[in-house]
C-alpha cells in the first residue's frame, strides 16, 4: 500500500471529526479566548456600573494626582485652556443657555458619572493613556465630581458608590430615532 492511499482514510476521518460537532459553515478561523485572557482589553464600564474594577479613591487623593498629571493641560483649577492647549474645562455647573457644544460640562451635561471613570481610564492622561492605576482613576473621578459639588469632599468613589452619583442632567436627553435601536 502506498503512503498516499494509506493516508486517505485517516484524512477523511479527521475532517469528519473536526467539521462534525463544531460549526458546519464558515472558515472558523477565530481562536477561542476566555475572560481572563481578554481582561486587559475589557475596559468597558457601562452606565449601571457593570465593568467597574475593584479599587477606591477620595477627592483628597485625587487632588494630588490631578496636580501632578492633569493640571498642565486642564489648568490648576480645572477650568481648561492652559497656554494654547485646548483641553476641556472639567468644572462648571452653569445652566445651558445656548445650543453650543461649548456649554457642555461634566456638572451641567454629562448624564452618567460612570462615563468619567471610563473615559479617564481609557484616554487620559492625553500623552500616556492607560497608565493610571484603578485607584488613581477612582481618586481623580472623586476629585472632579467633588469640585463640581456632585459629591461631598470626603466621599470615596468605588464600584458601589460611583454608579449611584446622581448627575443633574441625567434626564436631559432625547433619542432621535428610537426605531433604529
Amino acid at each position: 500500500m502506498s503512503m498516499l492511499s494509506a493516508m486517505i482514510p485517516t484524512l477523511g476521518l479527521a475532517l469528519f471529526v473536526v467539521a462534525g460537532p463544531v460549526l458546519a459553515e464558515g472558515p472558523n478561523l477565530g481562536k477561542p479566548i476566555d475572560a481572563a485572557d481578554s481582561a486587559a482589553w475589557d475596559i468597558s464600564v457601562l452606565q449601571d456600573g457593570t465593568g467597574l474594577p475593584p479599587g477606591a479613591g477620595t477627592p483628597a487623593q485625587g487632588a494630588r494626582i490631578y496636580a501632578e498629571k492633569c493640571a498642565q493641560c486642564h489648568g490648576p483649577e480645572g477650568k481648561g485652556g492652559v497656554a494654547g492647549v485646548t483641553a476641556a474645562p472639567l468644572i462648571g455647573t452653569e445652566p445651558i443657555t445656548d445650543i453650543s457644544a461649548a456649554m457642555k460640562r461634566i456638572g451641567n451635561f454629562w448624564p452618567y458619572a460612570t462615563t468619567l471613570f471610563d473615559y479617564t481610564r481609557r484616554a487620559m492622561p492625553w500623552q500616556q493613556p492607560m497608565t493610571l492605576a484603578n485607584d488613581e482613576v477612582y481618586a481623580l473621578t472623586a476629585y472632579i465630581l467633588a469640585q463640581n459639588k456632585l459629591i461631598g469632599e470626603n466621599d470615596a468613589m468605588n464600584a458601589e458608590s460611583l454608579p449611584k452619583v446622581k448627575m443633574p442632567n441625567r434626564d436631559g436627553f432625547i433619542v432621535r430615532f428610537p426605531d433604529a435601536m
Binding site: 468597558s44 445650543i99 454629562w110 452618567y112 484616554a123 492625553w126
Partner: protein, 443 residues
C-alpha cells in the same frame, strides 16, 4: 417621420427648454453633448464657442522628449498641488484633528483615499498589521480572536458608501452665513468603495446570547475610542472594512481595519477596530454621552442620533469656483442619505422660488454619494443656487429656515472650523454675483 427622427426632434425641441427661473434648463439636455451644442448654437447662447477662432496648434516641450520615469506609487500631477485636505489642527495639539475633503476641486462620486476626510481624536497609530487582533466577546456563545490574516480568508463583500462626521456642516448653525468655501462648510464627508467581512458573518461563528441588544466597538488608538451600536445594525449591513478603494485602509482611516456602519454617524465607524463586546445596554461612553450629542433650543439634547439624514450641496459653482463668462454651465453637486437611495434632487437658481429636477448620475447606490447635474444658462445676472434632495423613504432635505426652526442657531458667529453643534443637513445657498463669484448666503 421615422421613429428615430421623431426621437431626435423631441430631444432637440427640449434642448434649451427652461425649467425654472434664472436659466435652469431641462436635465435631458445632458443626454448628448452634440445635441446640446447644436441647439445652443442655433439660438446663439454659447458665448465664446461662437467667438474668435482658436490659436494655431504647436507641439509643447513635453511632447518633444521622453517623459518622467514611472514610479511604484503614483502621486497627482504637480499642477494639482492645491487639491489637498485642509487641516484645523496641523500641529497635532491635544484635541481633535480634522482634515476636510476639497469637494469643489473633485468630481464624480468617489473620494480618493488621500483626500478622504478624517476626524481624529488621538492621532493615527502606527499599527503592525501582523500584531493587530480583533476580539469579539461579551454576550456571545464563543468569544473569538481574529488576526488580519484570518479575516482575509472570510467571504468578503464590497460596497460603496459615504462616511460623514456628525459635525459636518456645523458652520451653518452660525446666525450669520460664514464666509468660507465648500471644503470648510461640508468637507467632513467622503465616499469610498469598501471591501471587507460582514460583521454578521463573524457573529455566526461566535453565536449571540439572546440577551444582547447592543455592541460596543472599540479602537486600538490612544483614546481607545468606543461607541455603542444597536445590535440590529450588526445583523443588517455592518462590516469590518479591510480595503478602501481597492487598497488597504489609509492610516488615518483606520488601518488595518475599521468598523463600517453604512449611513451611520462617522464617529461610530470605529477605526483601528480591536474589540467588539455584545452587551444588554449602551455603555454611555464619553463620545456618545457627551461629544456626539446635540443641544436643542429647549436645553435638552439628542443622543444616539445614529443616522446621517438626507442631504445635498452644490460643488460647482461654489465659493472660489468662479464663472468666467456668461454661457452654458453645468451645476454639479453631491446628494446622499443614510437611509438609502437618493430618489430626486431639485435645483433652484432663484433662492428657492422655482425649482428644476437635476439629472442623477448612474449608478445611484444606497447610502452612497450620488452626483447630480443640472444644465444652466448663466446670463451674468445675480442668482442664488440651491439644491434639495429626496431619498427613497420619502425623506426630504429641509430648507435652512425649516431646520433652524427646530434645531436653533448659535448665539454668536463661531470661528470657521469650530464644530459647536451637529447633524446639519439643510439646504446650502450660493449667491452668484454679476462677476461670477459665488458666496455663501442664507436664502
Amino acid at each position: 417621420m421615422s421613429n428615430s427622427d421623431r426621437r431626435r426632434d423631441a430631444t432637440r425641441s427640449s434642448d434649451l427648454k427652461t425649467v425654472a427661473a434664472n436659466g435652469l434648463l431641462d436635465r435631458r439636455m445632458l443626454l448628448g453633448r452634440g445635441v446640446v451644442l447644436a441647439g445652443a448654437i442655433s439660438t446663439g447662447t454659447v458665448g465664446s464657442l461662437t467667438g474668435a477662432a482658436a490659436e494655431p496648434l504647436t507641439d509643447a516641450p513635453w511632447s518633444q522628449e521622453p517623459g518622467a520615469t514611472i514610479g511604484p506609487y503614483e502621486r497627482p500631477s504637480r499642477f494639482e498641488k492645491d487639491v489637498v485636505r485642509t487641516l484645523n489642527n496641523p500641529n497635532g495639539q491635544p484635541g481633535a484633528q480634522g482634515a476636510r475633503t476639497p469637494h469643489h476641486l473633485t468630481n464624480g462620486a468617489i473620494t480618493p483615499n488621500g483626500l478622504h476626510f478624517v476626524v481624529s481624536h488621538g492621532g493615527a497609530p502606527d499599527i503592525d498589521p501582523d500584531k493587530h487582533r480583533l476580539v469579539i466577546h461579551g454576550l456571545v456563545k464563543r468569544p473569538l480572536v481574529f488576526t488580519l490574516d484570518a479575516l482575509g480568508r472570510y467571504p468578503m463583500v464590497t460596497r460603496v458608501t459615504f462616511l460623514e462626521c456628525g459635525g459636518n456642516g456645523a458652520p451653518l448653525f452660525s446666525p450669520q452665513p460664514l464666509q468660507a468655501n465648500l471644503q470648510a462648510l461640508h468637507g467632513l464627508a467622503s465616499c469610498a468603495e469598501w471591501t471587507g467581512v460582514k460583521l454578521s458573518t463573524l457573529l455566526d461563528e461566535t453565536g449571540i446570547d439572546p440577551k444582547a441588544k447592543w455592541f460596543i466597538a472599540e479602537g486600538a488608538d490612544a483614546p481607545h475610542l468606543a461607541r455603542s451600536v444597536p445590535l440590529k445594525k450588526a445583523l443588517d449591513d455592518a462590516m469590518i472594512a479591510l480595503y478602501q478603494n481597492g487598497e488597504r485602509l489609509m492610516p488615518a482611516n483606520g488601518y488595518p481595519m475599521r468598523l463600517l456602519l453604512p449611513g451611520y454617524e462617522g464617529n461610530m465607524n470605529i477605526k483601528y477596530l480591536r474589540r467588539i463586546k455584545l452587551v444588554e445596554q449602551p455603555a454611555m461612553s464619553f463620545w456618545e454621552a457627551r461629544t456626539y450629542t446635540q443641544i436643542l433650543p429647549s436645553g435638552k439634547a439628542y443622543q444616539f442620533y445614529l443616522l446621517q439624514e438626507v442631504k445635498s450641496f452644490i460643488t460647482q459653482p461654489s465659493p472660489g469656483v468662479t464663472l468666467k463668462e456668461p454661457g452654458l454651465y453645468e451645476i454639479s453637486g453631491i446628494a446622499y442619505s443614510g437611509t438609502g437611495h437618493i430618489s430626486k434632487v431639485m435645483v433652484s437658481a432663484d433662492g428657492g422660488r422655482s425649482w428644476g429636477e437635476a439629472a442623477l448620475q448612474e449608478p445611484v447606490l444606497s447610502k452612497a454619494f450620488t452626483r447630480f447635474r443640472m444644465p444652466w444658462r448663466w446670463d451674468s445676472g445675480a442668482a442664488i443656487l440651491q439644491s434639495r434632495a429626496w431619498d427613497e423613504a420619502g425623506n426630504v432635505q429641509p430648507t435652512r429656515a425649516q431646520f433652524v426652526a427646530q434645531r436653533g442657531e448659535l448665539k454668536a458667529v463661531p470661528p470657521v472650523g469650530a464644530v459647536l453643534n451637529q447633524h446639519f443637513n439643510a439646504v446650502t445657498s450660493w449667491a452668484v454675483d454679476s462677476a461670477g463669484e459665488a458666496k455663501h448666503v442664507y436664502a
